[in-house]
């Protein structure tokens, strides 16, 4: 075991998969000599050389389009997009090609690619360095979308993603990159994609979240008197409906927390699934604590925008009192 930050856990996963499988190559802007702007790929260039850790031209569509070709030829590319705010230029390649290739060729060509993207706010970053666009990609059939919230899950999920035969968007909450350390096995292990994790058990209220707000949820729950079950979805496509449903059938009350804007956010889908499966079990309306339907503000206001612990705590109290 080693006591690692989320950055270190991801770095270790990359090293171990690259050691194990020479089809795995890392490419992107500044991922080579510089080790990535967040240092996630630190040391990889020195260890694996310039043919496997590649500084590409500065072009996101190019990075993803070229990765699709690499993957169709049988490699396992792990491209990095530097910030989620710069993922939009690659949207076309992701949704027009990566997501559809297996389906439109009826399995003749596939795209085993893991796109790593730092995501979300809370680090006082400049404009377009703090958004939460993950749900855009949830709406595109053919992709899988993973958002770890702990070092342990980050390592296990990244290894699963790299070994997965389909294209995966791997969003790394940058606010959690160095927020805390956790014991992480030094050996390789996998965490299954599509399985949520019950972070805290409880039987009065269910709180469902993923990514950086999971930490805020823990704080809010610690400040609440009720017995609260906290679910970290970990993968937002495919959704682990079963874990959500089992919990809400038990508690009858649910609060969903995410950073992205409220309208048509993933919380709406989670709430809808709860309605489909738990209608007769519900004791209170489902509440959502989310970013607002505004453009992500610059960092002076970002903590007002983000679902911080106090807002979550209030929602928990409202749902409890209903």
């Amino acid at each position: 075991m080693a006591n690692l930050t989320l950055v270190q856990a991801i770095n270790l996963a990359l090293i171990q998969e690259m050691e194990k499988d020479d089809r795995v190559i890392v490419l992107g802007e500044d991922v080579g000599i510089n080790g990535g702007v967040f240092r996630v790929t630190e040391g990889l260039f020195k260890r694996f050389g310039p043919s496997r850790v590649v500084d590409t031209p500065l072009a996101e569509s190019g990075i993803i389009g070229a990765s699709i070709g690499l993957a169709m030829a049988g490699l396992r590319p792990v491209p990095e997009i530097q910030f989620e705010g710069f993922l939009a230029p690659a949207y076309d390649q992701l949704c027009t090609h990566a997501a559809r290739m297996r389906a439109r060729t009826r399995g003749a060509l596939t795209v085993p690619m893991t796109v790593r993207v730092p995501v979300g706010g809370g680090i006082h970053a400049p404009e377009l360095h703090s958004d939460s666009p993950a749900a855009f990609y949830v709406h595109q059939p053919g992709l899988k979308v993973v958002v770890p919230a702990t070092p342990y899950d980050a390592k296990g999920l990244l290894i699963s993603a790299i070994r997965d035969p389909d294209p995966i968007l791997f969003f790394e909450p940058k606010r959690l990159y160095r927020a805390f350390r956790e014991e992480v096995p030094e050996d390789e292990y996998t965490v299954p994609i599509g399985k949520a994790r019950v972070v805290l058990p409880g039987d009065e209220i269910t709180v469902i979240s993923w990514g950086a707000p999971v930490v805020q949820c823990v704080t809010a729950i610690e400040q609440s008197d009720q017995s609260i079950e906290l679910i970290d979805l970990r993968t937002i496509y495919p959704l682990d409906t079963e874990t959500i449903v089992n919990s809400v059938r038990k508690t009858g009350r649910a609060v969903i927390v995410h950073e992205a804007p409220k309208t048509a956010g993933l919380g709406a889908e989670v709430a809808s699934r709860i309605m489909e499966h738990c209608f007769l079990y519900l004791e209170a309306p489902i509440q959502r604590v989310t970013g607002f339907d505004t453009v992500m503000p610059y960092y002076k206001l970002e903590l007002e925008y983000l679902p911080e612990a106090e807002r979550i705590r209030k929602a928990i109290q409202e749902v409890a009192a209903y």
Binding site: P57, A66, G69, M72, R106, D166, E276
Partner: protein, 386 residues
């Protein structure tokens, strides 16, 4: 400091068999054997027939929208002829002659336009991606395919096709930039057919040539007569040799002309002068190639009659295969979306014919677990051609 010239260059235009059938014996020496010229002419004739029939299939309601390839047969065919069997082909949608030459059965293209994904299910060992419908995006896939080949130490290269309109797209420029700067063995073949639907090529590129776009990225670039199969074979052979030898890309502008409409949904008379079309009809790649063969006593009217009959038969057989394939199964849309179908999709698949609550697994006896099992059991249909 005096003003210095830091770069001066020129772009070559290659023509070997011109529109009058005049052959440059020096440039064309040993380029294609007469036996192969016969085969290429025969293939182009079959492809021309394929186009006619595809057009009629659309007009008679037996097929959806179709983009005619008519007039551009030499460009993709010459390129593919000049490549190795295991080089990647990354086409857009006006490269039927090249794809068929490589071995793609003709019914695949028909199936694609008949709205059936099995037309994209490229048979093993053909090293090609399916027709790309968005513009220019596929060029980056060629970059990645070539990159994988270089990474593995193989000498397989990638050749991608795109139109004059595609050179306005950002992905085109990203692809050229990646290939040049990362030293990747890609042959870029721009089929400049003069028109992107109704927009003339000069709106896409105001420079004297499209070929010089490659110059800006520091790669070899050349313009050629795209209706001259000899010129195509020469420029692509040279480009492929360079790519194989030193991992350098080449940008080729093949000047050709779209004799038909953009697709069957288009009417080019709305925006195109008929005199221009008539002029290009005289530059038809088939006419000059037939003259070449006749001049060398390799072709006569009897052979032509026999070829026409054979082309008819081949195309009719392909149409028959495309039309006789069993209808796709409704569940096919689920079955090749992921390597392993996620639970929620298994449930949708298992309950797709039930009413609005069809996605509720509690409708099924045994709940989610039962629907998962049912999904697994139903995932047995084998997509593919008979």
């Amino acid at each position: 400091m005096p003003v210095r010239t830091v770069l001066s260059t020129n772009i070559e235009y290659i023509s070997i068999l011109d529109e009058h059938g005049e052959f440059d014996a020096k440039l064309g020496k040993d380029l294609i054997s007469d036996e192969d010229v016969v085969k290429l002419y025969e293939h182009m004739t079959v492809c021309r027939r394929f186009d006619e029939i595809a057009f009629k299939l659309q007009r008679s309601g037996r097929m959806g929208t179709y983009p005619e390839n008519r007039g551009q047969e030499a460009a993709s065919l010459g390129a593919v002829y000049a490549l190795r069997k295991d080089d990647w082909l990354v086409p857009c949608y006006r490269e039927n002659p090249g794809l068929f030459w490589r071995g793609l059965p003709m019914e695949y293209i028909l199936l694609h336009w008949m709205g059936d994904e099995r037309g994209n299910q490229i048979p093993d060992g053909l090293y090609m991606t399916p027709q790309a419908i968005p513009i220019g995006t596929q060029m980056l896939h060629a970059v990645g395919l070539a990159w994988a080949s270089k990474y593995r130490g193989e000498d397989r290269i990638a050749c991608t096709f795109f139109g004059d309109g595609a050179t306005s797209e950002g992905d085109c420029h990203e692809a050229l930039n990646f290939a040049a700067n990362l030293d990747l063995p890609v042959v870029f073949v721009c089929q400049n057919n003069g028109w992107a639907i109704s927009v003339p090529a000069k709106i896409q590129c105001s420079a004297p040539t499209i070929a010089q776009r490659g110059l800006a990225y520091g790669m070899e670039c050349v313009q050629c007569d795209g209706n001259d199969i000899f010129a195509m074979v020469k420029v692509v052979r040279d480009a492929a040799a360079l790519a194989r030898r030193s991992h350098r890309p080449t940008f080729i502008e093949a000047v050709t002309y779209r004799l038909g409409d953009h697709t069957t949904a288009d009417d080019a008379r709305r925006y195109r002068d008929s005199a221009e079309v008539e002029m290009w009809k005289k530059r038809d790649p088939l006419i000059r190639l037939r003259k070449y063969l006749v001049d060398r006593n390799r072709w006569d009217d009897e052979k032509e009659r026999s070829l026409q009959a054979d082309a008819k038969e081949q195309v009719a057989a392909a149409v028959k295969r495309a039309e006789e394939i069993a209808a796709p199964s409704t569940t096919d849309m689920f079955d090749s979306l992921y390597a392993q179908l996620p639970d929620q999709l298994r449930i949708q698949r298992a309950t797709l014919r039930t009413a609005c609550l069809g996605q509720d697994p509690s409708q099924l006896e045994g709940g989610i677990e039962a629907s998962r099992q049912q999904g697994i059991e139903e995932t047995v249909s084998e997509p593919g051609l008979p």
